[in-house]
Amino acid sequence: MHSRRWVLAASYTVLVMGVLVVVGPFVWQALTSVKSFQDSVRIPPTVLPSPWDWSGYAKVFELMPLGHQFVNTVLMAGGRTIAQLIFCSLAAFAFARLEFPGRRFFFGLFLVVLMVPSQLFVIPQFLIMQKLGWLNTIQALIVPGMFSAFGTFLLRQFFAGLPRELDEAAELDGCGPLQRYWRILLPLSKPGLIALAVLTLLWSWNDLMWPLIVNTDPEMMPLSAGLAALSGQHNIEYPALMAGSLMATAPVIVIFAILQKQIIEGIANTGGKA
């Protein structure tokens, strides 16, 4: 079958060209991060650094409080994720498995939050932070992101797919709602919980607008806002900028490499956005 082999060869060609377009910029970024400053602004540009210069990786620590911002980012993304796993799974369990007054009404309210663009609540959220005296604090980065209608929706879908006989059997054995949640459904929902955790972690790690609004002190910024501030200073230390970008992104790339199956399935199944 000549035509079949031809189709396959053509497919590979197109796919590899696509990879070049998608990954090429990252390769260029990595190469730039190990160039000297003179090399990085040379006309015409050279592909390989000559000589290899790793000083950009040290220099970026002088240009921005990278260590502080890394810790802020970890606390922000981690805090939001842990809180969402607890709050969303509790509510999702109740919506999927329990009968209580106002169930439909409350779920409808949650869906409103899911459908409305974030610009509709961000001004009052800022005012709340201001009133609480939380501007330029870690909790300002974490707290509003602890609650997610999306996470509840995702987990409710997941719980609803588990067989009801499980709860019924547990109920006959005298398990109350809390035990059914904790001992039956949660252990069976690992894939759903992991999907929510990595999506929340990913979107929180990269979140920009909210940190820009609440934390203007560089030491209290997460990496996303820190990098933005750095490039906003018309900084042309390209090797250092690229080194900082790579370091800021590396943790999520590593998590992605380890958990890519769950991330991709989570996104494929939900079209997810935290």
Binding site: V7, S11, Y12, V14, V19, V22, P25, F26, W28, Q29, R42, P44, P45, L90, F93, A94, F95, L98, E99, F100, P101, F106, L109, V113, V116, P117, Q119, L120, F121, V122, I123, F126, I128, V143, P144, Q157, F158, A160, G161, P163, R164, E168, G176, P177, L202, W205, L208, M209, L223, S231, L241, M242, A248, V252, I253, F256, I263, A268, N269, K273
Partner: protein, 322 residues
């Protein structure tokens, strides 16, 4: 919207639950029901209170702010429809809205490319599917701040690699991000580049649900790959394509990060390239005019709702549900 592939249809629902209980004493039954109702409310309480305080009440407040003007010392004064009248006459708002719509159209143009790539990757004899998918997905997980920095460098008028590549074919490239004529398109290219892997993953998952027999049967009937793509892949995938386009429209209309990161205040290209959300941000938090910002946010909300409704209407003509 799309049913999650891994989630089966919920089996027995409530009706059968109470049926399978048998006849316990009525009193025990009521006690159990009460305790369940109590637990239900307790379990949604933490999230419910958080959503109420930080999301639902703020939506109402923003709506109210849209009718107020803020003084220099905070506080607000009721001004009725003044913000909305100002909005209707404000050229900057309409330019920003037009820009957002242009970006949305351009990002939608990327969807057919993603469909084609998903179909290529779905061929059963193709190897390395996982590696391709992972590589295409990289821009989705990368921090936008890092992406913006990188592209600013690639787009640089003097030593940017893009212009160097163009020079090879004798084209003298502009300074992409500061030229008002090129900046919007340069931004849209990054938008397409960032959305590509995301759309691809959703489309690939959709393709998993297309029965393989359809391809086998059509191959026996003599259909070539192009014919199969047009007559099987696209129609069978249409619900997923619809989902991807709805998500893309909603997402792109809210584009902010790239504009903020790549267009510093005072950039000559900013008016030609800024989006409605960027204008919302600078109005509310830089120019300290949250009343007007709230009105802009509501305009965005109305536009998103309208476009989504239009898409849902049009889908009846082209989306095939099996």
């Amino acid at each position: 919207m799309t049913a999650p592939a891994s989630v089966k249809a919920p089996p027995s629902r409530r009706a059968s639950t109470s049926g399978s209980e048998g006849p316990p004493s009525r009193r025990a039954f009521t006690v159990r029901r009460r305790s369940e109702a109590r637990w239900g409310l307790v379990m949604i309480a933490p999230l419910g209170l958080g959503l109420l305080l930080f999301y639902l009440w703020p939506i109402a407040q923003t709506f109210y702010f849209g009718f107020t003007k803020w003084g220099p010392f905070g506080g607000s004064e009721w001004t009725g429809l003044a913000n909305y009248e100002r909005l209707l006459a404000d050229a900057e708002v309409w330019t920003a809205l037009r820009n957002s719509l242009v970006y949305t159209a351009l990002v939608l143009l990327g969807v057919p490319v993603a469909i084609m790539f998903a179909a290529l990757l779905n061929q059963s004899r193709l190897r390395g599917r996982g590696i391709f998918r992972t590589l295409y997905f990289l821009p989705v997980v990368t921090m936008p701040s890092a992406i913006a920095m990188l592209w600013q460098y690639l787009y640089n008028g003097d030593f940017g690699v893009l212009n160097q590549l163009l020079a090879l074919v004798g084209v003298d490239g502009p300074s992409w991000m500061s030229d008002p004529r090129t900046a919007p398109y340069a931004l849209a290219v990054i938008g397409v580049w960032m959305a590509f892997g995301y759309n691809l993953v959703i489309l690939m998952a959709g393709l998993q649900n297309v029965p393989k027999q359809l391809y086998e049967a059509s191959a026996i009937d003599g259909a070539g790959p192009v014919r199969q793509f047009l007559s099987i892949t696209v129609p069978m995938l249409s619900p997923t394509i619809f989902f991807v386009s709805v998500i893309s429209v909603i997402g792109t209309l809210q584009m902010f990060d790239l504009v903020y990161l790549m267009m510093p205040p005072g950039s000559p290209a900013l008016p030609a390239a800024q989006t409605i959300v960027h204008l919302f941000y600078s109005t509310s938090f830089v120019k300290n005019d949250p009343g007007y910002g709230a009105a802009i946010a509501f305009l965005l909300f109305v536009v998103i709702a309208l476009l989504t409704a239009v898409q849902f209407r049009i889908q009846r003509r082209w989306v095939h549900y099996a």
